[in-house]
């Protein structure tokens, strides 16, 4: 049985593109695997639930019951990919809990493959969070996302030691276009006749990066 991926998209900073990446990844996994469950731990920011309500559940890590509801699902090797859109306010609580309950070791034992996608920013909170994750998350499960829309191509050296995944910046008018709640990346690929458009290229590039990630998980398994 192949391993069940659990993608944790996170940053200690608001408005760095977590939900955008979660949307992209969810749509890719829907296309690739035929199913995905998104968990929205992000109710204080623009949220995954608004964009993909049919595959997204809300979750919270403010109390033990919420943690149980979330983590007892994430630890299941049920071959259904999971994507967590982790809000900045829940970052510390989530990773403290993950460390305490030994999530990564138990996941490895059960055939679940967690992948932390850390959306980088250039502030001190991000540097501290990066150092914390580097020391607590297995290296092969830790990927830094360089969102050019946020960093403008200047990823701090301190955050570029491990695996990197680049998200190219889109022009503002296209960013506004994809930020519409009704917009679907996969629908756009399917219905847009002109495959040379910048948005078409951008979506395909990102789907290609995600496919590489999935292949990496297969090879690790």
């Amino acid at each position: 049985m192949r391993r069940t991926p659990v993608y944790i998209i996170c940053s200690p900073r608001p408005l760095v593109g977590k939900t955008l990446i979660a949307r992209l990844l969810c749509e890719f996994l829907l296309l690739q695997r035929g199913g995905v469950v998104g968990f929205d731990v992000n109710l204080k920011e623009p949220s995954l639930l608004d964009f993909l309500p049919r595959v997204t559940e809300t979750a919270d890590v403010d109390n033990t019951f919420g943690k149980m509801q979330l983590m007892d699902r994430l630890i299941l090797n049920d071959d259904i990919a999971k994507v967590i859109d982790l809000g900045f306010h829940a970052f510390d609580e989530f990773f403290t809990m993950v460390g305490e309950i030994g999530f990564f070791k138990e996941a490895a034992r059960r055939g679940v493959a967690p992948v932390v996608l850390f959306v980088a920013d250039s502030d001190r909170a991000s540097a501290r969070a990066y150092a914390m994750l580097q020391s607590s998350v297995p290296a092969r499960a830790f990927i830094t996302i360089d969102n050019e829309y946020v960093l403008r191509g200047e990823l701090p050296d301190a955050l570029s030691r491990g695996r990197l995944l680049n998200i190219a910046a889109l022009p503002v008018f296209l960013k506004t276009y994809i930020d519409r709640v009704s917009f679907s990346f996969t629908d756009y690929l399917r219905h847009e006749k002109d495959t040379s458009t910048e948005l078409h290229q951008w979506i395909r590039d990102n789907y290609f990066s995600f496919r590489e990630l999935e292949l990496g998980l297969l090879l690790q398994g």
Partner: protein, 265 residues
Amino acid sequence: MAKPAVIVVGADKGGVGKTTVSRTVLDYFNANNVPTRAFDTESPRGTLKRFHPDITEIVDMTATADQMRIFDTLNNDVPSVTVIDVRAGLLSPALASLRDIGFLDAAKSGQITFAVFHILGPSIASLDEIAETANFMQGAKYFLVKNFINNTSFFEWDQSTYNSYFHRIKDATEITIPKLNEMAFEQVEVASVPFLKFVANKGTKDENANYSFVLRGYVRHWLANVWSEFDRIKLTDIVGKEKDKDKEKDKTGGEKAAARPGGEK
């Protein structure tokens, strides 16, 4: 042959976590392959016995017959460690009884290893017990167990108050028991199994259980912290046993090691 060891876990104040600490001690000895028996003084209905029924007897420590059951059998070959969970209000009378029957003198002369885990809650009423209990502690290892049953402190913010309790008894050693997540604690209560079995996801008869992964994780993390305190005070050395790290990963497939720091299954 190792000399017999008796560990008394108690407090005069109720609700400070005596049985909880007793359970962690029994789990610790189990994980370290130290043969142990336990006595539960919550007569007639024992709480400790509910979690460790195979090794626990319920006794009435005020009854001479039961005192004989405990102390007249200390020289039997195995098990060599006896843990007594003394119910609320009975610690001082129990220690007085031990003095009267000559047990404390035997400990003082080195014939028996005797340790007292005095469980303290974060209240003045609880801390006031220290002076009284300390009177009985010649020849005993005396441990002041700070049990964080809630989010309060032990007056560390007021050094004079703190020192007046914790630094007054010269030979006492402090042990800190961190707070366990409430839901995790309740789930173990409901399951009525030792902490070790809960971590290993086992029921009362070693059948597979279905406890929450999160709650098991909290218990494992907490138990590892408690055991690191027992490691720090060299509890196995105190009772005359060497820690056997190989045997720790024994026939249970590493379950006993599961609660160790970094030893998650």
